[in-house]
């Protein structure tokens, strides 16, 4: 099984051919109990330290796919492997994932520090030993001075940073982000996009970013997976070859607009078919 994975080839080219994927989804289907076919025949390999976006119209199963990756949701058919992870006796992979939801979902009764500490607390880690770790995560999102603040004292953007710190504090291999900036204003969103790229570079994890914004996906990702609805499926992939760090220059470049156009054409094609 593992040897098979070693020889796997993808459209991505040589660079990744020799690396084992972090997660591999094969022919995954998801049918909800009410009969909705949320995902049909999904094939997706996710590689270590990639920045990958899932892009598609609302209702095409992006959140469903992310929940399956995280283990929060079960799939109805197909298979999912974690070639780089340990499996426990019951056959469950030890997924090292962090999840950033569309809302910050913080505990209003707890300080920023305790909110970020939560995943470690749930894994029976002691607060005294983990203080350093929590402070590192807070520094990573630029919230060092806010450990004692309560969520209600923070702006929307800052709450989202806390949520990102909470997802990073376990040092996950895969960071799942489900339209994390959808509820924020344009300016905050641009700023947070840049910060996410910084965090990604420093935390050296894989980021899987769900969005319905073409611009966001092109700006952020190395690879865009385009999805279509009814049934939810992947209709194509696009590699964004621009180097990092990316900045305003990139946003204004002709290369960027060409990529956006290509993605947009791909989406149009999907809508028509």
């Amino acid at each position: 099984m593992l040897q098979n994975l070693d020889r796997a080839t993808t459209s991505d080219g040589e660079q990744v051919v020799r690396r084992k994927p972090l997660v591999r989804m094969q022919n995954v289907d998801k049918i909800y109990s009410n009969g909705t076919v949320a995902l049909k025949n999904l094939n997706l390999d996710v590689y270590p330290q990639e920045f990958i976006s899932l892009l598609g119209p609302s209702g095409c199963g992006k959140s469903t796919a992310l929940r399956i990756f995280s283990g929060l949701g079960a799939y109805s058919g197909g298979s999912m492997d974690w070639p780089q992870s340990m499996y426990d006796v019951s056959g469950k992979p030890e997924r090292e994932v962090g999840f950033v939801f569309q809302e910050a979902t913080l505990m209003p009764w707890a300080t920023v520090f305790d909110n970020v500490f939560l995943p470690l607390r749930l894994k029976d880690k002691s607060k005294a030993q983990m203080t350093e770790r929590v402070n590192e995560a807070l520094a990573l999102v630029g919230l060092s001075g806010f450990a004692k603040a309560y969520p209600r004292e923070l702006s929307g953007g800052m709450k989202m940073r806390v949520s990102i710190a909470r997802a990073l504090v376990t040092q996950p291999k895969l960071l799942l982000m489900d339209e994390p900036f959808a509820a924020l204003d344009e300016i905050t969103r641009t700023r947070l996009s840049n910060d996410v790229l910084d965090i990604w570079a420093r935390a050296k994890c894989t980021v899987m970013f769900v969005t319905h914004s073409i611009f966001e996906s092109v700006y952020l990702s190395q690879r865009i997976v385009v999805m279509a609805a009814r049934p939810g499926r992947i209709i194509g992939e696009l590699k964004i070859d621009a180097p990092y760090p990316r900045d305003k220059e990139f946003r204004l470049s002709s290369e960027y607009s060409a990529y956006c156009r290509a993605v947009s054409d791909m989406l149009d094609l999907a809508m028509r078919s």
Binding site: L118, L122, A139, Y150
Partner: protein
């Protein structure tokens, strides 16, 4: 914002703008509010004094008999002259009320948590809890007194007051336990939280505002429960304020009746204030109900 390898410096430089509003806002407003806050606090007192003065004057003016309605001055002097009896009565009633209240809080939280652990348990016992609530306590009181109260009046009264105060605690705890935010439940599930940790760190804090609201209702109800119990128990051994009211009524000692009534209200009010203060103390840092609106 340009990309910069020194991440910390770029991001920290963006933060002060975001927080500026949070720190300057309250400071500006506080001085402006102080006068109106003083008025807010003292207005019930001022209204009360005006009401009492009007009462006193109207009784003098129309020459109303003290057997119908005594003037406030007489009630106050009765409060002073009968203070020994009244304080004994207060002690008795307060003991029943507070014990019943504590019992209601403890048992309400306990059974509320238990009930929500399992759907079947909830479906099985919920109707009986409701039945207990909708049956008027006055209707069960004589029975309870016959069963437990003939030689243990105090226990019977405790039981009756508890029955009145229990339900709001139970239902509020049960609702609170289920009110945990769906997104947060996902976070707990993602990290494989144990049942105990989910309870301790998610459900219990989510339920706290509901539990405290329940406690405020229960505190008032336990006073009512204690009074009803004393009424029913009658001369069977009760020495509380409510019994003093009944007793004074039959002796046509209306000023004493009013004095006992004043004590009872004052006691109810203080319980209300204590529970409110506890609520504010526990929720002020985070819950909407305790936040001051600053626009």
């Amino acid at each position: 914002m340009t990309m910069n390898p020194a991440v910390n410096s770029t991001m920290n430089s963006t933060l002060p703008e975001e927080t500026a509003e949070a720190t300057t806002g309250p400071a500006l407003e506080s001085s402006r509010w102080s006068l109106s806050q003083i008025l807010d606090r003292s207005s019930p007192l001022i209204a009360g004094i005006i009401f009492l003065l009007a009462w006193e004057w109207l009784i003098k003016f129309y020459n109303v008999s003290k057997f119908v309605l005594p003037p406030p001055s007489l009630i106050i002097s009765t409060l002073i002259s009968e203070r020994a009896d009244l304080l004994t009565g207060l002690q008795y009633t307060a003991a029943v009320t507070i014990s019943a209240f504590v019992a209601a809080v403890v048992s309400g939280i306990f059974f509320g948590v238990l009930l929500t652990q399992n759907r079947r348990i909830e479906n099985t016992f919920w109707p009986y809890a409701v039945m207990m609530q909708v049956t008027p306590v006055v209707a069960i009181a004589p029975l309870v007194i016959i069963w437990v109260g003939l030689d243990r009046v105090w226990l019977a009264m405790l039981l009756l007051a508890w029955m009145v105060a229990f339900f709001p605690m139970l239902s509020n705890t049960a609702i609170g336990m289920k009110s945990a935010d769906h997104g947060l439940r996902n976070v707990f599930e993602l990290y494989g939280a144990s049942r105990w940790k989910r309870f301790r760190y998610l459900q219990l804090p989510s339920a706290l505002p509901f539990i405290l609201a329940g406690a405020r209702i229960s505190s008032g109800l336990s006073v009512i429960g204690a009074v009803v119990a004393e009424f029913v128990a009658g001369s069977g051994g009760s020495r509380g304020l409510a019994f003093m009211i009944v007793e004074s009524g039959t002796m046509l000692n209306i000023p004493r009746m009013f004095a006992a009534l004043v004590m009872l209200s004052a006691f109810g009010l203080s319980i209300w204030y204590v529970t409110s203060a506890v609520q504010t103390l526990l929720l002020r840092r985070w819950h909407e109900s305790e936040l001051k609106q600053e626009n």
